[in-house]
Every structure is written in C-alpha cells, then in structure tokens.
Amino acid sequence: MFAYALRRLFSGALLLVVMSMVTFLLFYASSSTPERYACGQKCTAQQLEQTKAALGYDEPITTQWAKFAKGVVAGREFPDDEALREAAPELVTQCEAPCLGYSTGYGETVRDLISDRLPVSVSLALVAFALWIIIGVLLGVMAALFKGRVLDRGIVALSLIAFAFPTFFVGQIFLTYVSIRWGLVDTPRYSPIAEAGPWAWLTGLMLPAITLALVYMAGYIRITRAFVLETQTEDYIRTARAKGLPQRTVIGKHTLRAVLTPLVTLSGLDLAGLLGGAIITESIFNFNGVGKLSVTAIARFDLPLIVGIVLLVAAIVIAANIIVDMLYAVIDPRVRLG
C-alpha cells in the first residue's frame, strides 16, 4: 500500500511537470500579446517593447519555463529584469518557493492571489457537496424504495428537469427573484467563517451552493437509485431480509455500504474538480473565488495567473485521484492495489 502510494505520488508529480510544459506551450507560445494589456490602451509600439521585456516575454519559451520551474523549486524575484532590480530595490517582490509567478495585472504573486481566493471556492464547493450528497443519496434511496410509484417518478423527473436548465439561467433566477425581488434571503456574499461565524458563512453561501448542487444532484439521485436497486437483488441482502432484520437496518447498514464505494469515487472526483473554482456560479453571484479569478486572468491575458490556476486545479484533481483510489481499497476489501 505504501509503495503504491509512493509510486502514485511520483507519477502524479511527473504528470504535473508535463502539464506545466504543455500549458506553457499552449499559452506562452501563442501569438497574442499579454504585454498589450499590461501596457494599456494608449500604449505606443516602443512602450510595448519595453513592457514585453520588463515582463520577460521577450525570452525564448524554454528559458521562460526554466525560470518558472526554478521559481517553483527555489523561489525567485520580480521584476524579472535583473538590472532594474538592482537599480531600484524598492520595486522588488520576493516570491518564495513554491513560486508560481507574478501577476502584473494584480501586482501580486500568483500564489498569494490564489490562496486569498481559495477559501471562497473551497467553501462553496464544500457546502454544495454536502447538499448534493445528502439530498442526492436520500432522494435516491427513497426513489429506489418506492420504485415505479409516483414518488419515484416524481423525484427522478424533478431532478432531471432541475438539471436540464443551464446553470447560469438557474442562478440568474435565484439571484433576481429569490434574493432581490422577493427578498427571501440576503444578497449572497461570502463571509469568512473565522470572522462572521458559521451561520453567516453558511447563509451567505446557500443560494450559489444550491445552484451548484442542482447540477450534480440529478446524477447522484439516479446513480444511488440504480445501485440500491442492484444491491436489493444481491444474495446477502436477501439473507439479511430472511433473517428478519428490520428494513431500516438492511438499508442503512447493508445496502448503503455497498452503494458507498462507487459514490466515494464519483463524489471525490467531482468535489476535486470544484475546489479549483466554479466559474459560472462564482461569476453569477459575484463570489471572488478561484473561478472568477480565472475569468479575469483570461480576459486580461494574465499568463502567469492562468498557468498557475490551471496547474493548481490539475494538482487537486491528480491528488484526488490518488486519495480516491486509496479510499476505495479501504472501503472495499476486494480491491487490491498493485
């Protein structure tokens, strides 16, 4: 198990290195000019050249990647131009390892920018996750128990309908009507749990979290339902029933455990994908998480920031894959890692 984990970690790290190269190639080698944004609208051609040099975009892409890689391992200093750093030490920004780069658009290191916004995305993802797992599994089990009846059909139909409308449409309805027009909840906003307390934190997150959870809920209802139905026909469930165990025990203990395995896998990976920011939901509700940060980064062609976010999200997904595989082995003893 330990050797397996180590091997997975190693291959995950390798994957990240390759990804950083691919990402660099995709963006830095592109024809568009990030210095254009930094320089502003009234920028002369000559100023543009200066800006390009100041940002270090005039160097070959391999050099730029090497500097980036060195920054991740050992940290680096900005601005990139050494002469300018020496002449004007007051301009220097220290970027400690692991340094993902420096965003000129924001005038901050990419790591600081991301770590400022990560709590927002993580909070949103966690609350949404809790919603869709709890409600999804609950409704899924209910649908399975009442298979073919009105309740079953109703749950399945409603979940499908909720899922069929685009997120931005649902979010807009929540925001316009539920929050503003009808005033049922306060304007959704993020308040850090440490400052505002858990209640304000949770209520501020509710609408966006529901919006996000609706996307996933349908899938979880359906998959839970399918697995419960499948396990109902398994021998050990029949045995449990035959022993005269109450329905609650059969469902709660035997069936759910069997359903847990695939759900852990699925939800772990879904959650991982969300931790790095839910772009649409954050944009609609104006949550300054990583998703919205990435949108700004893209609009401004802030390459270090784009690359930093891509790699962060990738790292989370890769890590989640490893964790989920380990969990899988713990939950389901039939699985052997090797």
Binding site: L15, A164, T167, Q172, A226, P262, D325
Partner: protein
C-alpha cells in the same frame, strides 16, 4: 494507475451539466455486444417514455434540417429588425407579446422575430453538439480500440495522454484558449464564415472533442479488452488479417451499442456546454443565433419580457431531457439487465 474504474468519466466539465451519473452507468454496465438489434428495438418500442423522447429528438432533428431551408426561402427572418413594434421610451421593450406574425414574440431593442432566432439557434446548437459528439466518439473509439487491442507500450502512452487530458480544467481551458486557437485557425485558412460564425463554432466543436474523448476511449478500451480474447478475433488473427482490418471489421461492429448510448448522452451535454460557453462569451456570436447566445441575451429580461427569457431555456431543457431519456431507453433496450 491500475484502477480505471476510479478515474474521471465525464465529458467536459461538470459545470456544463453533464449526465455524469449516466456516463458512469454506461461505463459500468457491460453491454451485451452481440444482442441482435431487432430485439433491442422491440424492447425499446415497448417503453412509452423512450418512444416519446425518441419522437421529440426526431422533431428536433427535423427542425435542424428544415430551418435553414425556411430561412433561405424567406419564411423565417432571423435578422430582420422591426423597431416599429418597440417602445423606445421603455428601453425598447416590445409593445406586443405573442402574435400570429411573431408567435414567440420579438426581441427587445431590435424587434427581430424570436421564433426565427430560436429555431435557427436550435439548428446551430444541434449542429455543434452533433459534430462535437461525432468527433468525440470517433477519436475515443479509435484510440480506445488501439489501446485495448495493442496493449503494452501503446496502451501505456494512450493511458498517460488520457490522464493528462483529464487533469486539465476543461472549462478554463476552453475559455483561455479561445482567442489563441481561433486566431491560429484563421491563419491556417479555416474560413471565418459570416461574422466569424463558422470558425467560432468550429472552435467549440474541436475543443469539446479534444477534452471529451478520454472517457469514450476508456469505455471502448474496456470493451475491447473483453472482446479481443474471443475466438472470432483469434480466428481473424490466425487467418492473417491486418490490424486495421481486425480493428474495424471484427471489433468495431461489436462496440456499436456502448458507442450509441454514449453518443446520445454526449449530445445533451454538448448542447448545455454550448449554452454555458455562450454565456461566458465563447462561441458563435450575435447576430448569428444559437440557443446559448439567445438565452444569454435574454437573461436581463427575466422580469420585463419573460417570453424572451423562458423560451430558449425551455428549448435547451427539452433537448437535454429528451436526449437523456433516449439514452436511458437505448441502454435499457440494449441491456435489459440494467435495473431501471
């Protein structure tokens, strides 16, 4: 990474409303490759819900085929403005709702006929989704067959490429790459089409496929692994059939069931993806309508002109629901063991 079961199996990003549950099930449930098509069709026809969804899907394909003809004939006029029907004192809201001339009303600000725009938008959204799904399935199937049949190093390399692709945050990449890739495409001589509609639509198709193929490849690889040891493949190999022949003449016909199911689930996923991307400003742009950009333009009118706000959303929802039900129906028909 030995546990393929644990890897991400979803086309694109989940925020686009993918039927990931269904994909899972599609991947999990082994489809009896050789069950005769006729049997499946008979089972399918018995299911009322499946037949209804099938009819709706057929209707949407009919819309996609007929609309361009009606536009060319001048029956539908998606671009003609009717500002005389607007009240320019209230920000250009239409003075009328539904009418015989404009059954879905007209667009605030321009007075363009919404029926025409939504039907043409449906056509373009369906075209994008269809092309995207076809390319996704082709890439995924070809790579999946190669990986599964060849094994060894090739399988390993394809596996790593799959891991790499799946690790990218796809929504973010779709956004970030749009300007760069569209410029590159134009440089390569891909026609821009009226107001860039072609190249922008093409971009969406290509990038959706580029990030969407890995789950298909995994699914197909798994199927191939179980097929390749069967006698008829051995027989073909012994008879000296070439590899491509074995791939496409012997193995492919046994895969059509999972491919078909996956395909029906990709369609709605891509219709949703197009809408989400339109909202984020990527893809075909106004004045060329797609369901996504019509709906994005209507968001502000939730209150003042609900007809405009709800119609495109309902079109999207109906497409998504009917294709999903069709996919479920197809799976059940092809694999009666799957409990529904």
């Amino acid at each position: 990474m030995s546990l393929t079961a644990s890897s991400v199996e979803q086309p694109g990003d989940s925020e686009f409303h993918e039927p990931e549950g269904d994909d899972k099930a599609a991947g999990k449930v082994g489809v009896e490759g050789r069950s005769p098509a006729k049997l499946a069709w008979a089972r399918f026809r018995k299911d009322r819900l499946s037949m209804v969804s099938f009819s709706v899907v057929v209707l949407f394909f009919a819309i996609a085929v007929l609309t361009p003809i009606l536009v060319a004939a001048g029956v539908l006029k998606p671009q003609d403005s009717n500002q005389d029907l607007l009240n320019l004192m209230t920000g250009g809201l239409p003075t009328e709702g539904m009418s015989l001339a404009h059954p879905f009303g007209i667009e605030p600000g321009t007075g363009r006929d919404l029926l025409s725009r939504i039907l043409l938008g449906t056509t373009l959204s369906m075209t994008i989704a269809l092309s995207g799904a076809i390319i996704t399935v082709i890439i995924g199937t070809v790579l999946g067959i190669i990986a599964g049949f060849t094994g060894g190093v090739v399988d390993g390399v394809i596996g790593r490429i799959i891991d790499l692709t799946l690790s990218f945050p796809s929504t973010l990449m779709l956004l970030a790459l749009s300007q760069v890739v569209v410029d590159r495409m134009l440089d390569l001589g891909i026609p821009s089409g009226p107001n860039g509609a072609f190249v922008n639509g093409f971009y969406i198709v290509i990038v959706l496929a580029a990030f969407g193929w890995p789950p298909v490849a995994r699914l197909i690889r798994g199927q191939v692994l179980s097929i390749r040891e069967r006698e008829f493949v051995d027989a073909a190999r012994l008879m000296g059939a070439s590899r491509p022949r074995i791939y496409f003449k012997e193995i492919l016909p046994n895969l059509w069931a999972p491919i078909l199911v996956y395909f029906t689930l990709l369609m709605p996923a891509y219709v949703s993806a197009e809408a989400a991307l339109s909202y984020l400003g990527v893809g075909i742009k106004n004045p060329t309508p797609t369901l996504g950009n019509v709906l994005s333009g209507a968001l502000l009118y939730a209150d003042s002109y609900p007809l405009f706000f709800f119609t495109p959303a309902i079109f999207i929802a109906v497409i998504v629901i009917s294709f999903n039900l069709l996919g479920d129906g197809a799976r059940d028909a092809l694999d009666p063991k799957a409990g529904r």
